[in-house]
């Protein structure tokens, strides 16, 4: 009697945890459904290929798409070499109980927890006022040239923000390369750096790519760090210089959602913009998942 009672209570509580899990899935479904319902009708080729018009109440989002792409491209170019080499140091070069390696790991953990708005402040204080301001003084510009918000400073700020993502996933990829491959290469007389360049890095390439894709998906969605490092409300021209300001999908979403003079009129545009942004980040995440699944399959097949 007591025993069945215990089982029943246990069963009920178990389903309660199951309900929590279900709730998470349901919330995701609600968000996706709402965005798709509100946006699907409005996304078409013209929406993707035209600039905004009628004071943001008509037209498309092409400049925002372009700006987001350019921003994340620059960010990736900046973050990948640094992140990959840091991971290479941690996994391939650092002595087992190295103090520096531990310090780097600790810094990476903490860097991942710094609020994104603080990265924005850092970008403003360091890149724009310190680096940009110094460049202007050195190059003898009278007016602000580099010491103002622009796409280069915004992408470098995002590069610092996504550094932990790249380091962690690259290290994971390096861990997956079998030790035998390294020892075999070294036994054949290859040096450490030759082994790294021709055996280890090619072996870890899919994992490194996964890291890059995750960094892009994270970086493309962040708005807080670019609020005052280069994003602009509306621009007549596409960014064509490193110090031009740019439009951005996430920032566009923020502006349409909070500063629209006519909420009813902008709503379809807003939903469509959010849909594009979500589709983009989900597609990137999906690519990462697929690459990971493929390498895992290959790794299990070779053993």
């Amino acid at each position: 009697m007591k025993h069945t009672m215990r089982r029943a209570v246990g069963g009920a509580l178990t389903s309660l945890t199951g309900f929590a899990a279900l709730l998470i899935v349901a919330i995701l479904a609600i968000i996706l459904f709402d965005v798709a319902r509100g946006g699907l009708g409005h996304v078409n080729w013209r929406f993707l290929s035209e600039p905004p018009s009628d004071g943001m109440m008509g037209g498309g989002i092409f400049p925002a798409l372009y700006g987001t792409a350019a921003l994340t491209l620059l960010m990736t170019l900046a973050v990948m070499p640094v992140g990959v080499l840091t991971a290479v140091y941690l996994h391939e070069y650092a002595p087992p109980s190295s103090l520096l390696a531990r310090a780097v790991r600790l810094a990476v953990v903490n860097l991942a927890g710094v609020p994104s708005i603080v990265f924005g402040l850092f970008g403003l204080g360091f890149f724009i006022h310190f680096v940009g301001g110094s460049m202007d003084r050195l190059l003898g510009y009278q007016e602000l040239h580099w010491g103002q918000p622009g796409i280069l400073w915004a992408s470098l700020t995002l590069a610092v923000l996504t550094l932990p993502v790249v380091i962690v996933s690259t290290e994971e990829a390096l861990r997956a390369v079998p030790m035998d491959h390294r020892t075999a290469s070294l036994a054949l007389g290859a040096t450490r750096s030759q082994t790294l360049a021709r055996v280890v890095l090619p072996g870890a390439l899919p994992g490194i790519l996964t890291g890059a894709v995750l960094a892009v998906s994270r970086g493309a969605g962040e708005v807080a760090p670019i609020l005052f490092t280069g994003a602009a409300y509306f621009l007549p021209d596409l960014p064509n210089k490193f110090n031009s300001q740019f439009m951005h999908l996430g920032y566009h979403t923020y502006v349409l959602a909070t500063q629209s003079p006519d909420v009813e009129a902008t709503q379809p545009l807003l939903y469509a913009t959010v849909l594009v942004l979500l589709a983009l980040t989900f597609a990137l995440n999906l690519v990462a998942v697929l690459i990971r699944a493929r390498t895992r399959r290959r790794a299990s097949a070779s053993h």
Binding site: V9, T17, Y89, G113, T253, Y254, T258, V289
Partner: protein
């Protein structure tokens, strides 16, 4: 090199050909370069603190700023108008700037509290389900779902809170302010749940199977095993998950900026609009005069956020390692 009981041995460098020596030098240069690169992470963290602190320092150094934004004015009640009782007001752009941090602290605390009250039970219970009770196939759906939720940009969650949650709550409860601490907190919890879930699930799966088998063998039900054996064993990790979620909630910007109403009000009513520290930086930095006391003040808020989250991260880090050490030390 010290060698015991041996006649002093002089290390002899092997005689290398010039090709080999050049190769050795090249290897050293590459190793040095990679080691130097590894400093970037540390450098980034230090530079972040140095450069936001540098801009914030003017509050203490500049005479004009010290007058306008002293620590007393930030943290003690001030008489705003003669004859009225002293209050806490954040109004940095009026003719007489009022710079009390207290409304911002209260706003941040309120949204964070709401998000934690929702995200911690849902996240931990979901993790418990995934780690203990879920059949394998269900688990394989749950984890990518969490990853997708974690991948949603915060501006989209802010949009969802602003458009859908706020309308729903207002229609249901008839609140006076459409955007308030509850709406922002619920929106925040959407961003925090994946953090809590992931870290908690990692800690729970780190608990060795032998613990569960022993408990079940003694006649405990699966629920009793999960609650009285697995959960306590993973407790530091669960705590780390909560602390990490807390840190994220304090620093998250876009959701709060879009869904909180951005009114710096001192009240404990969760249906009032609020203004958080992070949203204040985001909303005001765009229009501020560079180098003014207001500008330094916003950087000062940034320093506070940095320090809060840094401390929380270190705590979470220590606790995560503790759970791993405890479980591997117990002889898994």
């Amino acid at each position: 090199m010290q060698s015991e009981g041996l006649v002093e041995t002089v290390p002899v460098a092997p005689r290398l050909s010039s090709v080999a020596r050049r190769r050795q030098i090249r290897e050293k240069v590459i190793a040095g370069f990679i080691t130097a690169m590894a400093f970037t992470g540390i450098a980034a963290l230090v530079l972040i603190l140095v450069f936001i602190a540098k801009e914030a320092l003017a509050i203490f150094l500049d005479a004009h700023a010290r007058e306008e934004a002293s620590l007393g004015k930030m943290f003690l009640p001030q008489v705003v108008r003669a004859g009225k009782p002293a209050t806490f007001v954040w109004q940095p752009v009026s003719s007489v700037p009022k710079v009390s941090m207290i409304p911002l602290f209260i706003g941040t605390l309120k949204t964070t509290l709401v998000s934690m009250v929702v995200a911690v039970p849902v996240g931990v219970a979901g993790a418990l389900f995934a780690a203990e009770f879920a059949p394998r196939r269900l688990r394989e759906i749950l984890k990518p779902t969490i990853e997708l939720l974690a991948g949603i940009p915060s501006v989209v969650l802010g949009f969802f809170a602003l458009m859908v949650l706020a309308t729903f709550l207002q229609d249901t409860f008839g609140l006076t302010s459409r955007l308030n601490a509850v709406v922002a907190g619920l929106g925040l919890s959407l961003a925090i749940v994946p953090v809590v879930f992931t870290v908690a699930e990692d800690a729970l799966t780190a608990v060795p199977r032998s613990y569960r088998e022993a408990s079940l063998a003694l006649g405990a039900t699966p629920w009793e095993t999960a609650w009285k054996v697995v959960l306590p064993a993973a407790a530091p990790g669960i705590l780390a998950a909560c602390v990490l979620g807390f840190g994220r909630a304090i620093g998250e910007t876009m959701i709060v900026l879009m869904a909180s109403g951005n009114a710096a009000i001192v009240s404990w009513n969760f249906a009032d609009s609020v203004r958080s520290m992070s949203a204040t930086i985001a909303a005001e930095m765009g229009e501020v005069v560079v180098g003014s006391p207001h500008y330094s003040l916003l950087f000062f808020i940034g320093v506070e956020l940095f320090i809060f989250t840094f401390v929380l991260n270190m705590l979470a880090n220590v606790w995560t390692r503790r759970v791993l050490k405890r479980l591997s030390g117990a002889g898994a």
